[in-house]
């Protein structure tokens, strides 16, 4: 822990950025699998189950899982350390807080981060801990056959209206976080170029819209049906 604090502010930022970009890419993979919950092909359930099976049993993925958790952990811990230092840097606050023009979402990264963290906990209770046998599988119209039967768990959850709505809300928050995060990561890594940075910013914004949109379509489908 002392070592973590000892790193310079810039090193911490690099680590944040790399972990963050890694998590953002992971979201894309996650979405790729999730989309098969929807009837996009005839055998979509089958494909989803194969994917789930692969993700839960492949030894390489096991290693990847550790890396992923590590990524989360580092991103969260460094995020917190940086935030606490930032609060400490201004012990006496202004009477009138900043009126300066800034990128809107950037001001609320810690807030969106806390919400995302809560979401992550719910997500773990509903799926990952079920797999490990710590928690009960979500109940609903479908019967969950075993603790790897994620398809039916999802269907059960999304069939609950309040859960589906909450899920959509949380994903939108995730979108806000991503909106600032991606271009910010490039800035932190020092990857700036007067020609290409506008393009990176555009891609970041698009990514922060498309990925959450993809996630949102799934509960939306269940809500409409």
């Amino acid at each position: 822990m002392a070592k973590l604090l000892h790193y310079s502010s810039l090193t911490k930022k690099f680590i944040m950025a790399i972990a963050g970009l890694f998590l953002a890419v992971f979201l894309m993979v996650h979405l790729g699998i999730n989309l098969f919950i929807l009837p996009i092909t005839e055998n979509h359930v089958e494909i989803f189950e194969i994917a789930v099976h692969f993700m839960t049993s492949n030894p390489l993925i096991k290693v990847f899982e550790i890396v992923l958790f590590g990524g989360f952990l580092i991103h969260i811990i460094y995020g917190l350390i940086l935030q606490i230092q930032n609060w400490m840097a201004r012990p006496k606050r202004y009477k009138i807080e900043g009126f300066s023009h800034t990128s809107f979402f950037s001001k609320y990264m810690i807030h969106t981060a806390i919400i995302i963290f809560i979401f992550l906990v719910i997500h773990f209770i509903n799926f990952y801990f079920v797999k490990l046998g710590f928690t009960e599988a979500p109940q609903g119209p479908n019967e969950v056959t075993n603790n790897h039967d994620f398809y039916n768990m999802v269907v059960n959850l999304f069939s609950t209206t309040w859960y589906a709505i909450m899920y959509i809300g949380l994903i939108i928050i995730l979108g806000f976080h991503l909106n600032h995060a991606i271009q910010s990561a490039f800035q932190s890594l020092g990857l700036y170029h007067s020609k290409y940075t506008p393009f990176i910013k555009m891609v970041g914004t698009l990514y922060s819209i498309i990925i959450p949109l993809g996630f949102i379509i799934i509960p939306l489908y269940f809500l409409i049906n």
């Binding site: 310079s8 502010s9 810039l10 090193t11 911490k12 930022k13 690099f14 940086l82 230092q85 930032n86 400490m88 840097a89 201004r90 012990p91 006496k92 606050r93 202004y94 009477k95 009138i96 807080e97 900043g98 009126f99 300066s100 023009h101 800034t102 990128s103 950037s106 001001k107 990264m109 600032h180 271009q183 910010s184 490039f186 800035q187 932190s188 890594l189 020092g190 990857l191 700036y192 007067s194 940075t197």
Partner: protein, 252 residues
């Protein structure tokens, strides 16, 4: 114009301090903001009260000494300008103006609106220069420098060290200030020689002084009276990264 001013008064560095309300009347729209404060101070001297202490010197926007946080913005509502050049026509008659000192842990208040910015000097002392001594240098034209690089270096070098970037940053980060100097030097062949050492030393000093971390909100760029760009911060990040990864281990 008639105005109500809410001004931070603090007797000394240890005192608690509080806002006091003052009224000024008959202010010309053509007066500068600091001249408006002069008028207020003059009226306080008339009443044998201690005038408000605030930093100012050149009053032409270049020395970087003036430092007022006005209605939530460093250097007030006008863009690309310091307080001393901001004129009262930027305010509406009858309005209330809240004036605070820059707030950051490394910038303690000395008195009223006056703050101690020696932290900036310490950062420069840590390495914000080319380590050449007087005399024995090559002819000025012996090393050609790309015009684009010279221009970018000049853009960065325009920093006046006022600290508005720290004042406006929600994290009280000094990254724009530090990166402007790092960038200027890194862009010039004369500065490149010790670029790796410089960026590490300056960042270490900045961290030690207790400035916050950059979270890329870019308020600094929006408020900088000299239009210093956040691309300098990216350039410093890159310089730091290659210094850490590529350079030899640094002694002292």
């Amino acid at each position: 114009m008639d105005l109500t001013l809410k001004i931070w008064r603090q007797e000394n560095a240890q005192a608690r301090g509080k806002f006091e309300t003052y009224k000024v009347t008959g202010i010309s729209e053509d007066a500068s903001f600091l001249e408006m404060l002069d008028i207020l101070n003059e009226s306080m001297v008339d009443k044998v009260q201690l005038p408000i202490a605030f930093d100012h010197d050149c009053r032409e926007g270049i020395c970087g000494m003036c430092s007022l946080y006005i209605n939530g913005r460093p250097h007030g509502p006008d863009q690309g300008i310091t307080v001393c050049q901001m004129h009262m026509r930027n305010f509406k008659d009858g309005s209330t103006i809240v004036i605070e000192p820059w707030r950051a842990k490394p910038f303690p208040v000395i008195k009223d609106l006056m703050i101690d910015r020696s932290a900036f000097d310490l950062i420069i002392q840590a390495g914000g220069y080319v380590s050449v001594h007087t005399g024995g240098v090559p002819d000025a034209n012996s090393i050609p420098i790309k015009k684009e690089h010279a221009e970018l270096a000049m853009d960065a070098a325009a920093c006046i060290g006022c600290g508005a970037c720290v004042a406006t940053c929600k994290n009280a980060s000094a990254m724009l200030f530090v990166s402007a100097k790092v960038s200027q030097m890194a862009l010039l062949p004369q500065g490149k020689i010790e670029a790796a050492r410089r960026v590490q030393k300056m960042v270490a000093e900045m961290d030690d002084l207790g400035f916050g971390n950059c979270t890329n909100t870019y308020a600094c760029e929006a408020e900088c009276p000299k239009d210093i760009k956040i691309s300098n911060i990216a350039r410093m990040n890159w310089q730091f990264l290659i210094a850490k990864v590529g350079a030899q281990k640094m002694n002292a």
